[in-house]
C-alpha cells in the first residue's frame, strides 16, 4: 500500500506547468462496488492530471478497471471517494465540455438513423442555427473522411467507418475534452493505424485534449504525450511516462525509432510486473 501511495504522490506533480489548472484532474479517486466483505475495489487511490491539448493514454491489462475509470471520469458513474475535476470543477455528471467515444461502435450508434442523423442527434438540443449545425456536421464528417457516406446507415459501413461516425458525432458536439474507450480495439490493424493518425490530426485541427484508454502499448506510445500505466487490480497508477517522441508522428518512422522501442519495453515490463504482483501470493508491504 505504502509504495502505491508514494507513486501516486509522485505522479501528482508530474508534467504539469506550475500555476495552471489542469484541464482534467483525477485526485485520489477510488471506486468499489458493493459494501462490507463483498466489496470489490476496482480503482484505488488513482491520481493523475491531463494538461490542455495533451493526448494522454491510460494503458493497462484487460480487466484492470480502465473502463470503470473512464466512466468515473466522464461522470457516467459516481466515485466512491476522491474526485475527478474538469477545469478545476468537480465532475458529478457528464460535463458539457466532454464527449465520449465508446469501444463498441455498433452499440453506440443508432441503427435507425443515417450517418448524418447520428452525428446530428446530440446537436439538436443545443439550439444552434441551422447553418451552424450544418457546418458542424459537415466539418466533422469531412474531418473523419466520411463526407461521401452521409446518407448511409451505420450498419452499411465497415467497422472502421462506423467508429469514424462515432468520432464525427463526438467532434460535431465540439467538446474540449475527448475521451475514448479502447476506440480501435475491434477494427483491423490497417484501419487502426489510420484511426490513430486521425486522432492525432483531430488534436491539431480542433485543439482538443484527448484521453484514450487502451490495452495496446504500441498505440499508447504512438499517440501520447504521456502514458499513465495501470499495473494491476485494483487500478492504481504504477507510473506516468513522458513520451518525448517528436511530432508529427508517422506510423513507419516513429515506430522504428529506438526510443519508441525502449518506451514500449518499459511499459510492458511495468504491466507484466503488475500482473505478477496481482496473481502471485500477496506479500507484506515493506
Amino acid at each position: 500500500m505504502g509504495s502505491q501511495m508514494d507513486s501516486a504522490r509522485d505522479a501528482f506533480g508530474d508534467g504539469q506547468p506550475a500555476g495552471e489548472i489542469p484541464r482534467l484532474s483525477v485526485r485520489s479517486l477510488s471506486k468499489s462496488y458493493g459494501t462490507g466483505d463483498g466489496a470489490v475495489t476496482i480503482i484505488e487511490n488513482l491520481t493523475f492530471d491531463v494538461a490542455r491539448g495533451e493526448i494522454v493514454c491510460v494503458v493497462g491489462p484487460s480487466g484492470v478497471g480502465k473502463t470503470t475509470l473512464l466512466k468515473c471520469l466522464s461522470g457516467l458513474q459516481s466515485v466512491t471517494s476522491g474526485e475527478a475535476l474538469i477545469d478545476g470543477r468537480r465532475i458529478d455528471g457528464p460535463p458539457r465540455e466532454m464527449a465520449l467515444v465508446f469501444q463498441e461502435y455498433n452499440r453506440s450508434l443508432m441503427p435507425w438513423l443515417t450517418v448524418r442523423k447520428n452525428v446530428r442527434l446530440p446537436l439538436r438540443h443545443l439550439g444552434l442555427e441551422k447553418i451552424d449545425e450544418d457546418f458542424r456536421i459537415e466539418q466533422a464528417l469531412t474531418a473523419v473522411g466520411l463526407d461521401q457516406a452521409v446518407n448511409k446507415y451505420a450498419w452499411q459501413l465497415s467497422g472502421g467507418m462506423q467508429q469514424r461516425v462515432a468520432i464525427a458525432r463526438a467532434l460535431a458536439y465540439q467538446p474540449e475534452v475527448l475521451v475514448m474507450d479502447e476506440p480501435f480495439a475491434s477494427v483491423d490493424a490497417q484501419t487502426r493505424f489510420e484511426l490513430e493518425d486521425l486522432t492525432l490530426r483531430i488534436r491539431e485541427q480542433f485543439n482538443m485534449t484527448i484521453v484514450v484508454v487502451t490495452h495496446d502499448i504500441d498505440e499508447a506510445v504512438y499517440l501520447s504525450n504521456r502514458v499513465v500505466v495501470l499495473g494491476h487490480r485494483p487500478a492504481a497508477v504504477t507510473k506516468i511516462l513522458d513520451i518525448d517522441i517528436p511530432s508529427p508522428r508517422n506510423q513507419i518512422t516513429t515506430r522504428a525509432r529506438a526510443d519508441f522501442a525502449e518506451l514500449r519495453t518499459e511499459i510492458l515490463s511495468l504491466i507484466q510486473a503488475g500482473k505478477a504482483a496481482t496473481t502471485s501470493i500477496p506479500t507484506q508491504p515493506s
Binding site: 455528471g93 457528464p94 458539457r96 465508446f102 443508432m110 441503427p111 435507425w112 442527434l121 438540443h125
Partner: protein, 279 residues
C-alpha cells in the same frame, strides 16, 4: 408475400449453422403458391359429390360466397366489422404503447402494476366479452371497447419488454450528450424498442380479429361473425363455410398488410438484420 419472406428469413437464420443447402427463393415462392392450390383442388374434388349436410361441395360454398359477400353484405356486414376491428386495434395499440412507455420508464410504477398486468394478460380476451355485454349492453361502442381492451395487452407487454431490453450503452450515449427526456424517448428509446413493439402490435391485431368475431357472436344482428353464427344456427352450412372462408381470407390479408407496413416503417431493422446474417 412479405409475411413469407420474413418467415423464411427466420428459418434461414435458424438453419444457418446446420450444413443444409439453402433452397432458392424462386423455389420457395413456387412451393408457397403450390401448396394452397393443391389443398383447394383436393377439397374441390373430394367434396364434389358430397351429400353430407355439414360438408357441402366447395363449388356450392364458392357460389354462396359470391352471392353473400360479393357484394350484397359487404357494406352492411363486412365494412362495419372491419371498422370496429380497426378502431379497436388503433385505440388498443396507442393505449398499449403509451401505457408501456409510462410503465417502462418509471421503475416504481412498473413494479406496482406488474401483478395486475400479468393477471389481465392471463385472461383470454374472448372471455371478457360476456362481462362487457352484461355491463355495457350490446352497442357498437361496446364491441370497439372490447376489441381495444383485448388488443392493449400484447402491445403493452412488448413495449415494456422492448424498453427494458435497451442496451445500457445507448443510455450512456444519451447521458453523455445531454439529450433531453423527450429526445431520449422519441429518438432513442422508442426506435430501439420499435421492432418488439411491432411484434406486439401484430399479436394485438390477431387478438383484435378474434375478439371482433367473438363480440359479434353475442347479441349482434350484423357483422361477419353474426352472419356466420346465424348461418350455423339455421343449418345454412354453405353460408357458414362461406363466412369461415371470408374470415380466413380477411385474417390473411390483414396480416399481410401489417407485414408490408411494418417492413416499410422498420426498413432499417429489416435491412440491418439481413446484413448481419450475411456476415
Amino acid at each position: 408475400m412479405a409475411a413469407s419472406t420474413s418467415d423464411t428469413a427466420v428459418l434461414a437464420k435458424r438453419g444457418r449453422n446446420r450444413r443444409k443447402p439453402r433452397v432458392g427463393r424462386p423455389w420457395l415462392i413456387t412451393i408457397e403458391v403450390l401448396v394452397p392450390v393443391i389443398l383447394v383442388a383436393t377439397w374441390w374434388t373430394a367434396s364434389a359429390d358430397s351429400a353430407n349436410p355439414f360438408f357441402p361441395p366447395l363449388s356450392t360454398i364458392v357460389e354462396r360466397f359470391q352471392q353473400l359477400w360479393l357484394f350484397a353484405h359487404f357494406a352492411s356486414d363486412v365494412l362495419p366489422s372491419l371498422g370496429n376491428l380497426l378502431a379497436g386495434f388503433a385505440i388498443g395499440g396507442v393505449v398499449g404503447i403509451a401505457l408501456g412507455v409510462v410503465l417502462g420508464i418509471g421503475k416504481v410504477l412498473s413494479g406496482l402494476f406488474a401483478p395486475v398486468i400479468n393477471f389481465w394478460r392471463a385472461i383470454p380476451p374472448v372471455a371478457l366479452v360476456p362481462i362487457f355485454v352484461a355491463l355495457l349492453g350490446f352497442g357498437n361502442e361496446v364491441r370497439i371497447l372490447t376489441i381495444a381492451l383485448a388488443s392493449v395487452f400484447p402491445t403493452l407487454i412488448s413495449t415494456l419488454d422492448g424498453l427494458r431490453a435497451l442496451d445500457p450503452q445507448l443510455r450512456d450515449v444519451c447521458r453523455m450528450y445531454g439529450l433531453t427526456r423527450r429526445e431520449r424517448l422519441l429518438n432513442v428509446y422508442l426506435p430501439a424498442a420499435s421492432p418488439r413493439i411491432a411484434s406486439g402490435l401484430q399479436v394485438s391485431l390477431q387478438t383484435a380479429f378474434v375478439v371482433m368475431i367473438a363480440s359479434e357472436m353475442l347479441g349482434s344482428s350484423y357483422g361477419i361473425g353474426a352472419l356466420t353464427l346465424l348461418a350455423q344456427q339455421t343449418f345454412a352450412t354453405s353460408d357458414m363455410w362461406a363466412g369461415i372462408i371470408l374470415l380466413g381470407v380477411l385474417g390473411y390479408v390483414l396480416n399481410l398488410l401489417f407485414n408490408v407496413i411494418r417492413d416499410r416503417v422498420l426498413q432499417w431493422y429489416v435491412r440491418s438484420q439481413k446484413i448481419g446474417k450475411e456476415m
